[in-house]
Symmetry: C2
Subunit: 384 residues, 2 copies
């Protein structure tokens, strides 16, 4: 009987707190978002995760922010006494980074208060809701690696292509040391700036290395939409060949001849988020002689079929890392990702694969899921 | 008499052409600006240098572009049959890069068609009017250097500061080679991104090096508004000390210990545009034991007084480079720049200084003046 009593109390408290949560008063401790342009007071975020906006457009008919509770519908702003358009999200937003924009009189514009981040095939406004674990991607007084912009010639596309390369702290001091390399891809509508801008990949690595939690390695981030997918055409028309050619035949040789890399298969990894996960899976499974560590971040899973039908998988793949945000798992169930990701991860683990499955708590298909995934993935790389 | 006849014809032709110019029909060969976001058709530029804008905001009352003939007043857009706001500048714009923004219903927003560039203490829209000499800053199939983002700890400000470092092609191949360094500063309201984003400093160097026109050297670009000048407070309140401390005591030692530099005075230069020129002049003249080459780009001049009143100037300064856009000279005459810049340059040349004065044709206080100035300056550096 005792256990039922305890359970009843727990259920009561759960119902009580979820109902009080809905009635929570919005705390007036709003501060400028950390991603605001220098000197800009808005947008602001409070300690509960509510976002507040203020837009100057005195003669506008309507101003809306495409950001709101659960991402549904956004937030309509209202004109205040001074003629500014102001408004607060109906509820708290998920922790971490969100893209958004304004709809002013029916047109799409960015919030002049914030920095821009490339997503949805445009430079979008960005806002940051402080996460309880924000320290792991914070800019701190630790030795810093560098993020280098490189331009390399691509014969297959007859163009000069751009990539960003993270080299760890100390890379320039000890000229005899060589490093393993992770190729890390962005998602659909993003570009090669995403992982260092909104992903903070460099700061995550600086902090992990400072704490001795990961081997130092190089990260290469390039543009994965080589065949120029337009809005609306969608992933169905995605052809991996153009990007695979740039990556395998052009970028990897460039990196191996311009950086002090360890260029054998056990020292090369590839990971990607969303569409970049799909690219990672497709490319690595065709090129297991080149990649030993594979990470799919909100971008598919490895099934037992994948393992069994891919010659060499068991011998060559040293890590099959799969991660999602918890809200993706809740929302998708076991649909849409090529089978239940957790079950898939367990099945290939039982088949002898070094399979790691990670779920980011209380995040969706957004960058905090992927920052956390990189933090989990990095220490597992280049161990064998 | 003959000479008067010739002069009359010349005057007639000048009047004739200037009046026909005003009546010139706008050629309908508009193409998307090279700085547009991927896939965006507008803004567009024609072969004469007119700019055309199209903004979607069907319910707006008014849409204006802060870009127009002579920078005066901007361009009012009008609603077309499909409900888009469209308009073309009244006349051709100067060649090169221009910052601008939209004023929609009284509020300041960016054009969603273009990339953003940091200027005027905000991320502004940018447009590029093709220049006849655009080839020198074009992205071409030549060996490319790298632009590296570095983060260095600043004790004096108790913060982690950012800089971008250009290393020339080949820097990573020959590990025994060391390079001279140019410290290159942005203008007021800009930041450390300006010289590589809108300035194309890396491409200018890549192209000069490929043609054998300059020694390869390192360029360091950092943030020069250390004391956080706000809009309106102006340059009068500028105190050089905070930035000088970061540059001299923190950044230079960081660069010399993290890059393969030649760290003696004959191998260090400083240059800057506008406010960055003022900073360059102030800092180098106090630190002639550290800098041998000095460049002021639309940012002051060196007078004979400067030379005579600065101990060591004649012995230590290997180059005093001063440049302006031609329209600055026209507009300013000999006011506002500490004396007539051309006369100043000649006076110090006569006093034995290696003084070089350059005027960029048909450009104003804008980036094409400074791209061209860097192209002129680079080959003169580190010669002695």
């Amino acid at each position: 009987m005792k256990i039922y009593f305890v359970l009843s109390v727990v259920v009561f408290l759960m119902v009580f707190f979820s109902s009080t949560k809905a009635q929570t008063t919005v705390l007036e401790d709003f501060k400028p978002s950390s991603l605001n342009q220098p000197g800009q007071e808005y947008p602001q975020v409070n300690s509960q995760g509510y976002a507040r906006f203020k837009i100057v457009a005195p003669d506008a008919k309507s101003v809306k922010v495409t950001l709101g509770l659960g991402g549904k519908g956004g937030t309509e702003l209202k004109k205040d006494a001074e003629g500014n358009w102001v408004g607060t999200t109906e509820g708290p937003l998920d922790k971490g980074f969100h893209y958004y924009h304004l709809i002013i009189d029916g047109g799409v514009f960015n919030d002049p208060g914030t920095l821009n981040f490339y997503g949805s095939v445009r430079w979008e406004s960005g806002i940051e809701i402080p996460a309880p674990d924000a320290d792991f991607y914070a800019l701190k007084n630790v030795p810093h690696g560098k993020v280098q912009q490189i331009l390399f010639h691509s014969k297959s596309t007859n163009s000069e292509k751009r990539a960003f390369v993270y080299t760890p702290p100390g890379y320039d001091q000890d000229q005899s040391k060589r490093y393993p390399v992770l190729y890390l891809q962005h998602g659909w509508g993003e570009d090669e700036t995403a992982w260092s801008n909104q992903g903070h990949a460099n700061l995550i690595m600086d902090n992990l290395i400072a704490e001795g939690k990961t081997k130092p390695f190089i990260i290469v981030m390039t543009y994965g939409m080589t065949n120029e997918i337009k809005f609306g055409s969608g992933l169905r028309n995605f052809n991996i060949e153009p990007f695979q050619t740039v990556l395998i035949d052009e970028l990897i040789p460039y990196i191996d001849s311009n950086f002090r890399t360890l260029s054998d298969q056990p020292n090369r990894a590839m990971a990607g988020l969303s569409m970049g996960g799909m690219e990672t899976k497709t490319i690595t499974m065709k090129n297991l002689d080149k990649f030993a560590y594979i990470g799919l971040l909100s971008g598919g899973t490895f099934s037992l079929e994948d393992v069994n039908n891919t010659p060499g998988f068991k011998e060559k793949v040293k890590l099959a890392f799969v991660s999602f945000g918890s809200r993706e798992i809740e929302n998708q169930g076991n649909r849409g990702w090529g089978g239940n990701p957790k079950e898939n991860a367990e099945a290939i683990k039982n088949a002898g694969i070094n399979s790691v499955f990670y779920v980011s708590p209380e995040t969706a298909h957004e960058f905090l899921s992927w920052r956390r995934s990189l933090k989990e993935l990095a220490p597992l790389l280049f161990k064998n």
